[in-house]
Symmetry: C2
Subunit: 389 residues, 2 copies
């Protein structure tokens, strides 16, 4: 049997998982710093949720959809917006709007895997519900900007581009276009067709006001971009994307916009909504390109080497140290102490504590710091009282 994962998805070995945890940690911290509350749901959704409002291309050609043993059509969620809208619609009478919510779900697309596009990826989703005014766009774009800064990006590393579906609808599109024809046109714009050179939109008052407000608060790497459309049909107003400015990776990193009508599919009154989604694969590529990923740090503090004593005695000592908040791995290799130390070094565990019969008898233990080779002889009480980091 093969040991590869399913096509187009990833295994996260501990060093990869450490990067994922770093990405998710910055996402959580930033979203919560703006007062967003975390929610989640299952990856399984009734297929009907995606019919009509998500891009047709995605529903028809790019979802994992199957019939369960009970005859229900099920889809692995390709994005989170329909789900969060369903959740809001389901309890809207219990909620006092406005709401700020975030989630970091995994989402699925049946695509040919390529750089930056996998069949499963994780995606930070941040949304504001219940705000019709530009405060929502101002905050959501400020949050997107702050995320980039919290990942260590400088203003010159990225650019925010904004446009409005209203400008597109009011501008070039013939007055007698049906809603479907406008959608078709927007999709073509999103794919870069018709070519930007052929069309000329002017920023309207709303988008001018938004750009001015953001610049007033120090966000200067933002500009109007008439060619921006975003792939989803459900956007109704301002849309924006964050671009990498590096020549070798010049592409959209993530984006979002206003979608005021999505609750209608649940026969509910409209709720104004603004949000964005940031994928883990693209942001990781960005951080690698700009050398912003942190170096690996072990989640274990102390490696307990076994100099010939019973495992059970080590477990007792380890638990005493753990009870004081440190993370302790006991050697299980049954190798010589020199080899045990090499294992700790290879695993990048910052401290080593060697325990033999002698140490057990006199209660004095040698604690070695791997970074500089420094060694201290301490009692267990002293180890627990140490501020090791």
């Amino acid at each position: 049997m093969k040991t590869e994962p399913y096509k187009g998805v990833r295994d996260f070995y501990p060093p990869d998982m450490a990067i994922q945890n770093y990405l998710f940690g910055v996402m959580k911290k930033t979203a919560e710093s703006f007062g967003y509350l975390e929610y989640n749901s299952s990856i399984l959704e009734p297929s009907e949720l995606y019919r009509g409002k998500t891009s047709e291309e995605i529903v028809n050609e790019q979802t994992y959809t199957f019939t369960d043993r009970g005859g229900r059509d099920v889809t692995l969620r390709p994005e989170m917006t329909p789900t969060v809208t369903r959740m809001i619609a389901g309890k809207r009478r219990e909620f006092a709007l406005p709401l700020r919510w975030y989630s970091i779900p995994n989402v699925f697309r049946y695509e040919r895997p390529q750089r930056g596009r996998l069949r499963e990826h994780w995606q930070l989703n941040c949304d504001v519900f219940g705000v019709a005014g530009l405060e929502a766009e101002t905050e959501i774009i400020s949050l997107a900007y702050r995320l980039m800064k919290n990942f260590g990006a400088a203003d010159v590393d990225f650019e925010i581009r904004a446009n409005s579906r209203k400008i597109i609808a009011a501008g070039l599109v013939p007055k007698d276009f049906s809603e479907e024809q406008i959608r078709d046109f927007t999709r073509k714009l999103d794919r870069g067709d018709p070519t930007p050179a052929d069309i000329h939109f002017e920023p309207d008052e709303e988008i001018k006001k938004l750009l001015a407000a953001l610049k007033e608060n120090g966000i200067n790497n933002i500009r109007f971009d008439q060619t921006l459309a975003r792939g989803f049909d459900y956007y109704t107003g301002i849309v924006f994307e964050v671009f990498d400015t590096a020549p070798e990776n010049n592409r959209a990193l993530f984006g979002g916009g206003r979608y005021d009508n999505l609750l209608e599919i649940f026969d509910e009154e409209k709720i104004p909504a603004v949000g964005f989604g940031m994928g883990d694969v693209t942001i990781r590529d960005f951080l690698e390109t700009h050398k912003l990923l942190p170096t690996y740090q072990s989640t274990t503090d102390i490696y307990l080497c076994n100099a010939g004593v019973n495992f059970n005695k080590l477990e007792k000592i380890a638990q005493e140290i753990r009870d004081n908040g440190l993370r302790v791995a006991i050697d299980l290799s049954d190798k010589k102490v020199g080899v045990q130390i090499k294992i700790a070094v290879r695993q990048q565990i910052p401290y080593i504590l060697c325990v033999g019969e002698e140490e057990l008898k006199n209660g004095q233990f040698k604690l070695k710091k791997l970074a500089n080779g420094e060694e201290k002889t301490l009692t267990l009480q002293e180890i627990n009282a140490q501020n090791l980091f």
Copy 2:
């Protein structure tokens, strides 16, 4: 369109998500305190991974399996052990054994939903690879015990029961039973059939030694249980389960055991392995039954009330406070200040800061603590310097 989630799965609204985050936090902290490293993978696995080694009942009747658009058979993982074994097999030449790994994946079973059994649940998986001796079982059961303690359980609230597949195989089962017949017998035992009264096993030396070691380290709520078998076919030695002792919830909470042969399905040499899985639904039921779930705490520190100023000015102040590590939500309701305060109270946000033109002019802000109604007038610098918690 309906607003309910797909049958047998859950939506996690922010208060539910806070409980999930609490559960996952205790799981992560405890596993890492023992030196376990986190890994993960996709929920999508090639179906062949489950043929042969997982319980036949689960593969044939209880998995989500479908054919993708490229003709591949795909299964939503029903458990994590085959996945982690696949990952170990795939890179075994790069690894220095032993390894300690953990993960908190979501897993899927196509079952009739009932109390404690849903179609999707999350499950902490902890495994040790590469240790043939009892040190592995000692540590894994110590970790399971410590998890319960870290969730606030007292020793009387739960009991650990242990048995060994070796005792079952060597004891009652006729000598001429094939491997398949032994598996059948173990499955019947797991379902409580034949009745325990009819059979009598004695603990062997290995299990006596294990129980003695654990008791020596203060784990006294453990005993030999001849009726214990565990549902999976792949176990080869010691198996254990943690039981709730509450009369109204007397059931197995979680368990695990030794599975030394699983790497064989990848045509690899055996690697001894011991592990367990703890599900979020059962542990949450347990914590509710024993009143051990913590009360909800907001992940927002300060609610910024708007006493009639431009949103953009509030955003500037909020960001200054955020930059100092506090989490700040700005009012977006456009209601009177009295109503805004009610929103903050309803959302259980511990501090309120009111900002009007007056406060902007003189730089003095009133910070109110909701718990006791205490109010202080402070400058922004003073707020940032405060230790609010």
